[in-house]
C-alpha cells in the first residue's frame, strides 16, 4: 500500500513538474496567503509598462502589443495600449470605459457578466484577493524567485473560454510579474508587467469615467 502511495506521489510530482517547469507545489499555502494579503495591503498603487503576447498556436503566430498600466486602490485600473494600436480601458469600481479606434463605450461591469469576471480577475490580481475569488479553483507553486498561482475557472462563461489563468507573483514584493490566460484551444495570452513602480503618486483623474 505504501509503495503504491509512493508511486502515486512520484507520478503526481512528475506531472506537476512537467506542467510548470522549474516550479514545485507550495507546501505552506496558508503562510503564502497571509504574506500575500499583508504585502498587497501595503500597495496602494502600481504603475507599470506592460507587454502583451497573444500566441495562436495552430497559426504559429504571435501578436505583440505594448502599453501602460495603472492601478489604484480600491478597484481602479487603467490599461492603455499604445503599440501597435491604440486602445484604452478603464475599470473604476463597477464601471468600465473603453475607447477603441472608433468609439468610446461605457458599460456597467455588473450588466455584462464577462466584463465583471475580467474586471474581477484584474483587480483581484493587483489587490491580492485572487485567492478568495470563488469563480476559480486555485493551486500554488513556487520556484526560487516567484510564486505561480494557477486559477482554474469553475463557473459557466469563463469555463467555456479559459482552461486556466496563471498569475506569477514576485517573491520580493508580492507584486504581479505576469498574467497568463490559456484558452481551451491551446492559444494563450500573456501580459508581462515591466518597470513596475509600487506606491507611486497616481492621480484619481486617470481613472475618471465621464
Amino acid at each position: 500500500m505504501r509503495k503504491i502511495f509512493l508511486i502515486l506521489i512520484l507520478i503526481t510530482g512528475y506531472v506537476v513538474k512537467a506542467q510548470y517547469a522549474g516550479y514545485a507545489p507550495l507546501t505552506d499555502v496558508a503562510k503564502f496567503k497571509t504574506d500575500f494579503a499583508n504585502a498587497t495591503q501595503k500597495t496602494a498603487t502600481i504603475k507599470s509598462n506592460f507587454v502583451q503576447e497573444k500566441e495562436l498556436s495552430m497559426l504559429a503566430e504571435k501578436i505583440v502589443s505594448k502599453g501602460m498600466f495603472w492601478f489604484k486602490k480600491n478597484n481602479m485600473v487603467r490599461m492603455e495600449y499604445t503599440q501597435p494600436f491604440k486602445y484604452l480601458m478603464i475599470l473604476n469600481n463597477d464601471k468600465v470605459y473603453v475607447k477603441d479606434a472608433q468609439k468610446e463605450t461605457k458599460v456597467s461591469a455588473g450588466s455584462n457578466k464577462l466584463f465583471r469576471q475580467i474586471n474581477d480577475i484584474m483587480i483581484d490580481c493587483m489587490q491580492g484577493t485572487t485567492l478568495n475569488n470563488a469563480d476559480f479553483k486555485t493551486r500554488i507553486f513556487e520556484n526560487k524567485t516567484t510564486y505561480l498561482v494557477e486559477l482554474v475557472p469553475v463557473v459557466k462563461g469563463l469555463k467555456e473560454l479559459l482552461k486556466h489563468i496563471n498569475v506569477v507573483v514576485d517573491k520580493k514584493d508580492y507584486s504581479v510579474n505576469s498574467i497568463e490566460m490559456l484558452e481551451l484551444s491551446g492559444d494563450n495570452t500573456v501580459i508581462r508587467f515591466v518597470n513596475k513602480e509600487l506606491n507611486a503618486n497616481i492621480q484619481d483623474a486617470l481613472f475618471t469615467i465621464k
Binding site: Q52, K54, I63, V64, Y87, M89, V98, A101, I118
Partner: protein
C-alpha cells in the same frame, strides 16, 4: 378624396422603388473582359493584422483580425479583442470549403456565421468561377458577376478595369452588401469596409504595421 390621393401617392412611390430595384443590374450592357482581369485586385494575404471594428444593430465590437495563408493554401481568420479574448477562428480552404474552429457563444448562430462567411469570401475573391461568370457595363463601371447558389457576387471596376471601385453581394434585384478595399500595399488592401444594406451591420478593417 384625400385618402384616395394618399393611397395613390403611396402606390406610386412603391412602384418607383420596385422599378429602381429591378433595374439596378437589368440595364447593364454586355462588355469585354476576363476573370483574369480581377487577379490584380485579389488580396495576397501571406499574413496581415487589422484593427477591426464591428457594429451590429446596437452592439459594438472592436479588436484585431489576423488573416494568414497557411501552408496548405487555406486562409485562417482569427478575430480577438485587444486583450486577447478570441471571438472567432475561421478557415477558408482553397477548395471553397469553410470550417469554424471556434466562435463565442453569443456569435454562434447559423445566420451570423453564414453572413460572415459570405462577406469574407467576397473579400478573399476565392469564389470566382470562370465557367458561369458574366461581364457587363454601364456608363461608368464594369460589372464582373459571379452567380452563387443564392444570389450574386459583383466586382465593380472602372471602365478601364484598373481600379476596383467596390464589391457587392446581391439578390436578383437588390444589393445586399457593399464592400470596398483600398490602398493596396504589396497586394494587400490597407483599408476594408463592409456595409450591409438590409440591417445595420458594418465591419471596418485598418491594417496595422507590426
Amino acid at each position: 378624396m384625400q385618402i384616395f390621393r394618399m393611397r395613390y401617392l403611396l402606390l406610386n412611390s412603391c412602384l418607383i422603388l420596385l422599378g429602381s430595384c429591378t433595374t439596378l443590374y437589368k440595364n447593364l450592357q454586355p462588355a469585354n473582359g476576363n476573370v483574369s482581369d480581377l487577379q490584380q485586385f485579389r488580396p495576397q494575404f501571406s499574413v496581415a493584422l487589422y484593427n477591426t471594428t464591428v457594429d451590429v444593430l446596437d452592439n459594438h465590437l472592436s479588436g484585431l483580425l489576423l488573416i494568414k495563408k497557411m501552408p496548405d493554401s487555406s486562409i485562417r481568420m482569427v478575430f480577438s479583442n485587444e486583450m486577447g479574448f478570441k471571438f472567432f477562428d475561421f478557415e477558408f480552404a482553397s477548395t471553397g470549403e469553410f470550417k469554424v474552429y471556434s466562435i463565442i457563444k453569443k456569435m454562434n448562430k447559423k445566420a451570423v456565421i453564414k453572413t460572415l462567411r459570405k462577406d469574407f469570401e467576397l473579400i478573399l475573391m476565392n469564389q470566382l468561377d470562370a465557367a458561369t461568370f458574366k461581364i457587363r457595363k454601364d456608363e461608368n463601371f464594369k460589372y464582373y458577376t459571379f452567380p452563387q447558389q443564392k444570389g450574386y457576387y459583383h466586382y465593380i471596376t472602372n471602365l478601364a478595369g484598373d481600379h476596383l471601385v467596390r464589391m457587392e453581394r446581391a439578390s436578383n434585384r437588390k444589393q445586399v452588401v457593399e464592400v470596398v478595399m483600398e490602398n493596396y500595399i504589396n497586394h494587400i488592401p490597407d483599408t476594408i469596409g463592409v456595409n450591409h444594406n438590409k440591417f445595420h451591420f458594418t465591419i471596418g478593417l485598418k491594417r496595422i504595421e507590426r
